[in-house]
Each structure stands twice: as structure tokens, then as C-alpha cells.
């Protein structure tokens, strides 16, 4: 009984959840970033309290049995008839996201105690301040109840990622990566903003539930405009969730500290894009063509990133590309109508990707290198890290009973059952990526943790504050998949769109993906178990062109720099020309004309009193004569009553 009361209170006061880490951020900043112990204490306790409340919210939502969403809102301001409110919408999706974000965020902050131990006091406190703000923004984002609010938090998330990617701002590459992440995601956000403005203008409100109610009538009146809006909104998700063609910022974001990468890749930032598409799924489902676009972009991104991940030697890069690839999976699932599947994968992915990143961070912390060619045999000296990393790999590769198996199976069944034209492409890429995922993840596992050491040998297992979060995450990564066990369908009952979707009847995709995953693992073992570095260079010499292509990331960076160089700078030059010569020309012309007239007219001021007198006489004479003439020809005296 008490527990239910607590859950109800949590839902009623849900806005406290993002406020807690935000308060921690304010306090850390207010304390002048001086106190090494205070900052993490505040930050972690805020996250812990937020997690408790989030659990309450989740429990409350479970108790409500898919009841209507709880909404709290306060008016903010109004422009004309347009009411803007600041509000908090709690439905099942929010409950899931809030719990996930606060749990993973909290674990990452505990882990950072160990990982950031070499940081100076100010940097350490700054790190926790940003982490708190980042978590607060993401928690706010998932419970926003209107478009303006979600956009606000959306940008806050982007800003925090900028701060954290560029955390070591003295390093040129880090500050460059931060700028790149910010600018590239802003590019997508532009579309998001335009979409929001269009939709809010058409609907006359920014509230999600009200917009959802008005959508059918907009669709009746304006027809195709919803597809345009959906595509514009999706642009925001493309930027944030690093989908093709804006995926280029995510690998560079590895310049930040590893816990930041874990947070960005698992719980916040990239999850925001997928969450947004889920939140606005009603808009997307009004325009099936936009959903097709989502599916195609997702599938292509998954494929592209997986191929690049095959050849990366930096352990964090492998994980970065695998994130892009898995996000592609989520988009693919959402695009083919697998709302549950996409969100389930978002959840499981958050756990195993956070786990993988933190493991990689643990290795990097011990060995002081990112390069897998200088690792090898780490598993013997760091058994906890090794085993948890293996669990993460098994999960992401989709081996039962680990979590990734269930979520990926749902995605593949959704894709398999998809029968729109062009579905063959989606199916083939979907299954190919399973193979590649298993391959590159086990490649990274084998190169890092198996075989003989190839680099530094004096190191030991990380401390408890790093291994405990790893163990907890590993537990979730291993077992959270059972929520989606087909016979029970707990997750599907909790999160679904419209009616409960059709459950896959065929077991073919499951067997196929399992076979492909095992095949990928076996290939990786065969190629890399012995002499990984030598085999790698052998492969490289056999397929030089392919390697060059993949190592240059499909030349996407070059494509964008060319685009910027010629297209963007071209437009900028034209604009600059117009500004300098036409706009400024008009302004300067008016100034110059006035000056010229002044220069000429000043000679009238001769200083000779008699000359002035002549002018006055001529003026008076003209007025008198003119007055008479005017009244003769135009009898205006009527006007004066005469």
C-alpha cells in the first residue's frame, strides 16, 4: 500500500527527477569547482535519488496497466492565441527512459570516480558538473510534454555533449571534435526546428497530446504536409542519433573521456533521436513514406557503420561505429513499424553499450592506449573487465540468452514481416549486419583480451569503484532481455504503439540471425585468435582498395568537407558579396550622398550679410507672387473658409 502511495507521489512530482541533477550541477558550480569530494557526492546522490523516484514512476506506470498518460503542466507564456506551457508527460515510454537514464547515468558517474582519478580538482568537479547537467537535460527531454520544451532540452543535451567531448579542451583534437559534434548535430536540429514551427503553426498548439488530437484534421486539410513535417523532424533525429549522412560526428566524439562516451552512446544524446521518433510516432505513422525513409536511412546506416567497424584498430572507434550501426537498427525497426522492437533495442543497447564502453575505459585506464594492436592478453590480468566485456559482446552479437538476442530478434522479425516494396534491401542489410556485428565485436574482444600481451605488461585490475558498475551493468546486459521473452511479452505489453502489434509467427529470422551471429564469431576467432596483428596486415595487403575505402569511412568526412568547401562556402561567398557591395553599398551610398550635398551646400554660408539679405528678399518675393498665382489657379481659399 505504501509503495503504491510512493509511486503515485513520484508520478505527481515527476519534475523533481530532472531538477535533482540540475540542482547538483548548480551547487557544484556555485561551490567554485573547488571541492574534490563534494562534487561527485552531490552528483551521485542526486542521480541515486532520481533513480529511486524513477523506479517509483516505473512502478506507478506498471500499476496503471497502460492507463492514460499522466500530464502535469504549468502555463509558461502566451503569444496571441498560442499557449506555451512547461509540462511533464509521463507515459510508459517516459517511465522506461527515465529509469534507464538515471540508472546508467548514476553507474557511469560512480565509475568515473575511478576513471577520472588523475584529473586535477577543478577538472574533476567540472566533469561532475557537466555530467549532472547532461543527465538533467536528458531526464527533462524524456518527460517533455510539448515540442518547444523537447527542443529546449534537445539543445541542452547537445550543448552538454559539446562540453564533455571537449572536456580536455587543451587538446586540439578534442576541441575540434566537440565543435564538429555541435555543428553537425545543429545541422540536423535546423530541420527539427523548422518541423516544429510548421507543426505548431498548423496545429495552433505545441502540446504533444493536443497535436495528436488535431493531426487527423490537419491531414484532411493539408494532406501531404505531414510527410514534409515528419521528414524535417526526422532530420533532427538523424543529427542526434548519428544516422547517415550526419553520422560523422560520433566517431570523433571519442576524444572525450570514456565515461562520457559511454553516457553519450548509451543513455543520453544518441538515444534522444530514437526517443524523439518514438515519441512523435503518431506523426510519422500518418505519413508512411516518411517511415519508409526512416527505415531506409536506418538500414543503410547500420550497414555503413558495421563495415567501417570491421577495420578499426582503436577499441573506442569499434564501439563508436557499433553504436551507429545499432542506432541504425533501432531506426530500421521504427521505420518498419516495429515500435516495440526499436524501443526494446534502445533499452538493451543502452545497457550493453554502456557496459562495453566502461570495460574499454577500464582497459584504457590500465594500459594508457586505445590501440588494440598494443593490447592482447588483458583478460588474464583483468578478469572482471574481461568477463563483463565478453557478456557485452555476446549481448550485442545476439547470442541467447543475453539481452541483445531478444531485442535484435524482435527487430529482425519486424523487418522480416515487412512487406512494402523494397523490403528485400532492408531484410538483406538487416541480416548482413548481424554477421558483421558479431565479427567485429569478437575481433575487438579477441584482440584486446585474448592471446599474448603485445604492449605494456605491468598493470592490474581496476578498483572496485570501476568494477562494481561493470558488474551491475553486465547483470542487466545479460538478463534484461527476458523482459521480451516471446512467451511472456512483458515489454510488449508495457510499450507498444496503438494496439498490440502482431507477434512474429515465423521462427526463421531467429534461427537465421543466430546462425549468422555464430558464423561471425567463428570467423573472428579463426582470423584473430592467433597472430591477430599479422593476420590483419595480411588481409590488408590482400584487399588494399577495400581497406582504404573502409578506413577512410566511405569518404564521408571528405564528402562533407568538399560540400562545406564548395557548396557552403560558395553560398557564403555570394552572400558576402551581396552584403558587402549591395546592402552595405546602399547604406554607404546614402551617407556619401549626404556628405557630398553638405560639402557643396556649405559654400552658401558665405558670411556676407548682404548676400543673405538678397536670398531672403528673393524668397519673400517668390512666396508673395506664388501665393497670388496659386490662389488664382487653384482656389484653395475654400479650405480656409474664404
Amino acid at each position: 500500500m505504501n509503495l503504491e502511495f510512493f509511486a503515485q507521489k513520484c508520478i505527481n512530482y515527476v519534475f523533481i527527477i530532472p531538477l535533482l541533477p540540475f540542482l547538483a550541477f548548480l551547487l557544484i558550480v556555485a561551490s567554485g569547482l573547488k571541492f574534490r569530494k563534494l562534487a561527485p557526492a552531490l552528483s551521485i546522490s542526486a542521480m541515486f535519488l532520481a533513480f529511486i523516484m524513477a523506479c517509483g514512476v516505473l512502478y506507478g506506470r506498471i500499476l496503471s496497466h497502460n492507463g492514460p498518460a499522466n500530464e502535469i503542466s504549468f502555463p509558461w507564456f502566451s503569444i496571441g492565441n498560442f499557449q506555451l506551457e512547461i509540462g511533464f508527460l509521463v507515459d510508459n515510454l517516459t517511465a522506461m527512459m527515465v529509469t534507464m537514464v538515471s540508472l546508467i547515468g548514476g553507474l557511469i558517474q560512480i565509475y568515473s570516480l575511478g576513471y577520472m582519478e588523475h584529473e586535477k580538482d577543478a577538472g574533476f568537479a567540472r566533469f561532475y558538473a557537466y555530467m549532472s547537467l547532461f543527465s538533467a537535460s536528458m531526464l527533462g527531454l524524456v518527460m517533455a510534454n510539448n515540442f518547444v520544451e523537447i527542443y529546449m532540452f534537445w539543445e541542452l543535451v547537445g550543448l552538454c555533449s559539446y562540453f564533455l567531448i571537449g572536456f580536455w579542451y587543451n587538446k586540439k583534437s578534442a576541441s575540434d571534435a566537440a565543435k564538429k559534434a555541435f555543428v553537425v548535430t545543429r545541422f540536423g536540429d535546423l530541420g527539427f526546428l523548422i518541423g516544429i514551427i510548421m507543426l505548431a503553426t498548423l496545429a495552433g498548439t505545441a502540446n504533444f497530446l493536443q497535436v495528436a488530437g488535431i493531426l487527423p484534421s490537419i491531414n484532411m486539410v493539408h494532406g501531404g504536409i505531414i510527410a514534409v513535417i515528419a521528414v524535417l523532424l526526422f532530420m533532427g533525429a538523424v543529427g542526434k542519433s548519428a544516422q547517415f549522412p550526419l553520422q560523422i560526428w560520433l566517431p570523433d566524439a571519442m576524444e572525450g573521456p570514456t565515461p562520457v562516451s559511454a553516457l553519450i552512446h548509451a543513455a543520453t544524446m544518441v538515444a534522444a533521436g530514437v526517443f524523439m521518433v518514438s515519441r512523435l510516432y503518431n506523426i510519422f505513422s500518418f505519413a508512411p513514406s516518411s517511415l519508409m525513409l526512416v527505415a531506409y536511412i536506418g538500414a543503410f546506416t547500420a550497414f555503413l557503420a558495421a563495415t567501417i567497424a570491421l577495420v578499426q584498430n582503436d577499441i573506442k572507434s569499434v564501439l563508436a561505429y557499433s553504436t551507429i550501426s545499432q542506432l541504425g537498427y533501432m531506426m530500421l525497426a521504427l521505420g518498419v513499424g516495429g515500435y516495440t522492437a526499436g524501443n526494446f533495442h534502445l533499452l538493451t543497447h543502452a545497457f550493453f553499450k554502456a557496459l562495453l564502453f566502461l570495460c574499454a575505459g577500464s582497459v584504457i585506464h590500465a594500459l594508457h592506449t586505445n590501440d588494440m594492436r598494443e593490447m592482447g592478453g588483458v583478460g588474464k590480468k583483468m578478469p572482471i573487465t574481461g568477463i563483463t566485456y565478453l557478456i557485452g559482446c555476446l549481448a550485442i552479437a545476439g547470442i541467447p540468452p543475453f539481452s541483445g538476442f531478444f531485442s535484435k530478434d524482435e527487430i529482425l522479425s519486424a523487418v522480416y514481416n515487412f512487406s512494402q516494396p523494397g523490403a528485400a534491401f532492408l531484410k538483406i542489410t538487416g541480416f548482413l549486419v548481424v554477421l558483421m556485428t558479431a565479427f567485429y565485436m569478437f575481433r575487438s574482444y579477441i584482440m584486446t583480451f585474448c592471446g599474448q600481451p603485445r604492449g605494456k605488461t605491468e598493470y592490474k585490475e581496476s578498483k572496485l569503484n570501476m568494477t562494481i558498475p561493470l558488474t551491475i551493468l553486465a547483470f542487466f546486459a545479460a538478463f534484461i532481455g527476458f523482459l521480451g521473452l516471446p512467451s511472456m511479452n512483458l515489454f510488449r505489453d508495457f510499450i507498444h504503439y496503438g494496439g498490440v502489434e502482431t507477434v512474429a509467427e515465423s521462427h526463421l529470422p531467429m534461427y537465421l540471425s543466430l546462425i549468422l551471429a555464430v558464423l561471425g564469431i567463428l570467423t573472428a576467432v579463426a582470423l584473430y585468435n592467433k597472430k591477430p596483428v599479422e593476420n590483419e596486415s595480411l588481409l590488408r595487403s590482400k584487399f588494399p582498395l577495400l581497406y582504404k575505402f573502409l578506413e577512410n569511412k566511405w569518404y564521408m568526412d571528405d564528402f562533407w568537407s568538399l560540400m562545406v568547401k564548395y557548396f557552403l562556402f560558395g553560398i557564403a561567398k555570394v552572400m558576402s558579396f551581396i552584403d558587402t557591395y549591395i546592402i552595405d553599398g546602399i547604406v554607404r551610398g546614402i551617407g556619401a550622398l549626404t556628405y557630398y550635398l553638405g560639402v557643396q551646400l556649405r559654400y552658401e554660408q558665405s558670411g556676407k550679410a548682404q548676400q543673405y539679405m538678397v536670398i531672403i528678399m528673393i524668397f519673400i518675393a517668390t512666396v508673395l507672387v506664388g501665393w497670388q498665382v496659386a490662389f488664382k489657379f487653384f482656389p484653395l481659399n475654400i479650405l480656409f473658409g474664404g
Binding site: 554660408q605 558665405s606 558670411g607 556676407k608 548682404q610 539679405m613 538678397v614 528678399m617
Partner: protein, 100 residues
């Protein structure tokens, strides 16, 4: 009886002579004298209209104008003397400091 128009023509002529003198003369005293002519043209008008309208108002006003003209002449001459002391000249086309 001489018609009113003759007086008005006389006054107009006086005015034009005064204006012409004020514009063309170089000597400051000459200009002052020309301005006296313009004053007196106005005075003639005042008196003529006073007679024409059978009212004493115009004549009284003319007396005031003469008094003010005397004061004005005194002030004008004083200014001219000060100008002469500073510039060693009373030729108005040489006194043109207030210009561009």
C-alpha cells in the same frame, strides 16, 4: 485731395530704395541709413491708413516707430564703432568671419 494710392506709391518707392541701398552699399553707415528709409516707408503707410480710416491709432503707432528707430540707430552706430575698433574697417563685405 490727393488720392491714397499716390502716398502708397511713394512709400513703395522709399521701401525699394531702402532695400536696394541695404543690399548694394558697402559702407555699414549707408546700410543703416537705408534701413531708416525702410522704416520711414512703413511710417508713411501707417499715417496714410490712419488718415484714410479716420483713426488716431496709426499716428500714435508711427510715433512709437520713430522712437524705436532712434534707439535702433543708437545701438546700430555703437555696434559699427565696435566693429571699426576690431577690424579697422566698416565695409561689410570684409567682415565675413561667420562662414564655412
Amino acid at each position: 485731395m490727393i488720392g491714397i494710392e499716390y502716398y502708397l506709391i511713394l512709400s513703395l518707392l522709399l521701401l525699394l530704395i531702402g532695400v536696394y541701398g541695404a543690399i548694394t552699399l558697402r559702407h555699414a553707415i549707408g546700410i543703416l541709413m537705408s534701413i531708416e528709409l525702410i522704416f520711414n516707408a512703413a511710417n508713411i503707410n501707417l499715417i496714410v491708413f490712419s488718415q484714410y480710416m479716420q483713426s488716431m491709432l496709426g499716428q500714435v503707432f508711427a510715433l512709437f516707430v520713430i522712437a524705436i528707430a532712434a534707439a535702433e540707430a543708437a545701438v546700430g552706430l555703437a555696434i559699427i564703432i565696435m566693429v571699426y575698433r576690431n577690424f579697422h574697417s566698416v565695409s561689410v563685405d570684409e567682415i565675413d568671419l561667420l562662414k564655412w
